[in-house]
């Protein structure tokens, strides 16, 4: 059985326990006003309204705020059906579980592949969501290190985060997709020999990870909260997405960032949730939206919001904003998310071992 928002949610969803408990009432409230499937097409052009719900993760919220109106204008040009658009944003993992738990999003835009896979494994995505031109991915970013204005602690690479006395922020890997990219970035850089650890030496990579975790002061639930704490003055450095920092700087924040020699390429997927679009009769609209996301127009909006485009044409336009790290690797270089899960995040593996090394020494 798939997991959900809480232990209680999990139980309330089971048919044998389907009672009108607090949790189901809450779930109903959260899932919005009863959406009806649009009526089947009769003769003549169908002018019935069609609704679409986008379930996104928090980071690209501003980008979608700009993309959705443009998409609606485009849609209006070739379809007489008015669009009732709803969008909701949560942490990536929480959004995936909300969708599995009955939040009927037609399109899911999440931070990382395993969260889309959560929805697929629950049987809600039945088609091959990776079949699209960019493997189901619509944006990219990289993991970087945010530092204070002027970089007073001279932090340039992963090893600098392990120095004694440096205070680091990174979110909790249990609750944040972003945090898992962060850990994978350090792990990959170390295993690939771009840190003080010897290439391929898992024990040395674990040790570096442990030294960095030892310096972590606060683990927030998500990447956004972590950055907010950094903006409040907590920490000397923050491990986060490049786009988060770029958006913060656009808003006038004084912090800077450094791109480590070796870091991971973040790829953010979008997928149509088949079960829900079929239920709502919104497949055509959902497909149009997903296709629109990789047009130059949408890709430029993403880029304005600090996200690296997947479309080569737009990527070359904005290359100056997004410098290339000297060693950029992907999750595939680390054996895909399944491999990373097995070697880093499973109980008793690298992350746990590193935590153990980081220990309970400091208060």
């Amino acid at each position: 059985m798939q997991t959900s928002l809480s232990c209680l949610f999990a139980a309330a969803r089971r048919p044998d326990l389907r009672v009108l408990s607090v949790t189901t009432v809450l779930a109903l409230c959260a899932c919005g006003e009863g959406r009806k499937p649009s009526s089947p097409a009769n003769q003549g052009p169908d002018t019935s309204p069609v609704s679409l719900t986008l379930g996104g993760y928090t980071t690209p919220r501003e980008a979608y705020g700009a993309i959705i109106p443009v998409f609606k204008a485009q849609w209006a040009k070739h379809s007489p059906r008015p669009v009732d658009f709803k969008d909701s944003y949560l942490g990536s993992g929480a959004q995936a579980r909300a969708i599995v738990g009955g939040f009927e999003a037609d399109v899911a835009a999440l931070s990382l592949e395993p969260d889309i896979e959560t929805i697929r494994k629950a049987g809600l995505i039945t088609s091959d969501w990776k079949a699209g031109s960019h493997g189901g991915m619509v944006t990219r970013s990289i993991v970087v290190i945010g530092v204070r204005a002027g970089n007073p602690k001279t932090i340039h690479d992963w090893d600098d985060l392990a120095k004694p006395g440096i205070s680091v922020l990174t979110p909790n890997v249990r609750t944040s997709g972003g945090a898992r990219w962060n850990i994978a970035a350090i792990w990959g850089a170390a295993l690939r020999g771009h840190t003080s650890a010897k290439a391929g030496d898992a024990a040395a990579a674990t040790k570096l990870l442990g030294a960095i975790l030892h310096n972590v002061k606060n683990m927030d639930a998500g990447a956004r909260e972590s950055l907010l704490n950094f903006e409040r003055g907590v920490g000397d450095a923050i491990i986060t997405y490049e786009n988060e920092i770029l958006v913060g700087k656009q808003k006038g924040q004084s912090y800077e960032y450094v791109i480590p020699k070796s870091t991971i390429l973040i790829e953010n997927p979008v997928a149509i949730v088949d079960s829900y679009v079929d239920k709502h009769g919104s497949r055509e609209l959902a497909k149009a939206l997903v296709d629109f996301l990789t047009t130059p127009e949408a890709q430029r909006i993403y880029a304005k919001n600090g996200l690296r485009p997947v479309l080569p044409q737009v990527a070359s336009e904005v290359a100056a904003t997004f410098p290339a790290p000297s060693d950029l690797f992907t999750v595939r270089d680390l054996g895909d998310w399944a491999g990373i899960q097995k070697s880093v995040f499973d109980t008793g593996t690298a992350y746990d071992l590193a935590l153990g090394q980081a220990g309970g020494a400091t208060p």
Partner: protein, 276 residues
């Protein structure tokens, strides 16, 4: 003391109300409770012991236990002292102080966490100074204790206050006239009356502290093995898709909370019996 049984037979309407209330309470509390225990014990007691074999889970439980117990002890002493002051002395702005005491129950605990974060965060003078002296409050264990003290503030005060007010001033006067000092008077006149009330309220504050999440998640730092408490651990396990491990720790906290509730009720019944 129980009132005498009602002489009138219930009408149909009353019977309906009675049944509706029973169903309401069952659906609201008992059914979700059973559901949780079912998930927690889905693989038998083994999953419980397995969940507790993780050092992170054990450290989180231990941190929650000791901070909550410390807070309950502090509450017993400070809460009794506060009630004493409120009842015995005419404070200026007494109504305001009284409202402030109830405030922690009225505001979301997340807001309580934010208040502490704003005050002791690294950007404030206080927070900065504390950090320089090596006594940080934010993202450290003292922050956990402070947050728990805040959210459990009214428990002991509000339990001891009415008992103190009930004590006949003549008893105190008699003790003093008979030559007892202030300490002896407190021990013989006041403590027997307010002791059990303070104790049961402190136990209830312990139960409340064990489950505190909203303020803790902001102030604690949430680092596994260091500043991660059991409720935040549970949250993390749910969020990362391992509700079994979460449910096991949930069940443990639940049993503890129920036991504390039973103990507090027992003490309260004894107080009731003595008063009758």
């Amino acid at each position: 003391m129980k009132p005498a049984a009602y002489a009138l037979a219930p009408t149909a309407g009353e019977r309906l109300l009675r049944n509706a209330v029973v169903v309401y309470i069952w659906l609201l509390v008992a059914v979700p409770l059973v559901a949780l225990v079912r998930v927690g014990l889905a693989d038998g007691l083994q999953s419980l012991t397995h969940a507790l074999s993780s050092p992170v889970a054990r450290a989180a439980l231990w941190l929650t236990l000791w901070t909550s117990t410390l807070v309950a002890l502090l509450n017993a002493v400070l809460g009794t002292a506060s009630a004493w002051v409120l009842v015995r002395y005419k404070l200026p702005g007494r109504a305001l102080v009284s409202a402030l005491i109830d405030l922690p129950l009225a505001i979301p605990t997340l807001v309580a966490g934010m208040m502490i974060a704003v005050l002791y965060g690294p950007l404030t003078l206080v927070g900065h100074a504390l950090e320089l002296w090596g006594m940080p409050i934010m993202f450290a264990r003292p922050g956990i204790v402070l947050a728990l003290l805040f959210v459990t503030l009214p428990f002991v005060i509000r339990a001891v206050e009415p008992v103190l007010m009930e004590i006949d001033p003549a008893e105190e006067e008699a003790a003093r006239i008979l030559g007892a000092g202030p300490l002896r008077t407190f021990q013989t006149v006041f403590l027997p009356a307010i002791g059990p009330a303070a104790l049961s309220a402190a136990i209830r504050s312990l139960g409340r502290a064990l489950g505190e999440f909203g303020s803790i998640v902001i102030v604690a730092g949430n680092i596994p093995l260091r500043t991660l408490t059991a409720p935040v651990y549970i949250f993390g396990e749910i969020e990362s898709g391992t509700p079994r491990a979460a449910a096991a720790v949930c069940v443990l906290l639940l049993v503890l909370a129920l036991a504390l509730h039973g103990l507090a009720s027992f003490i309260e019944r004894r107080i009731g019996a003595r008063h009758a």
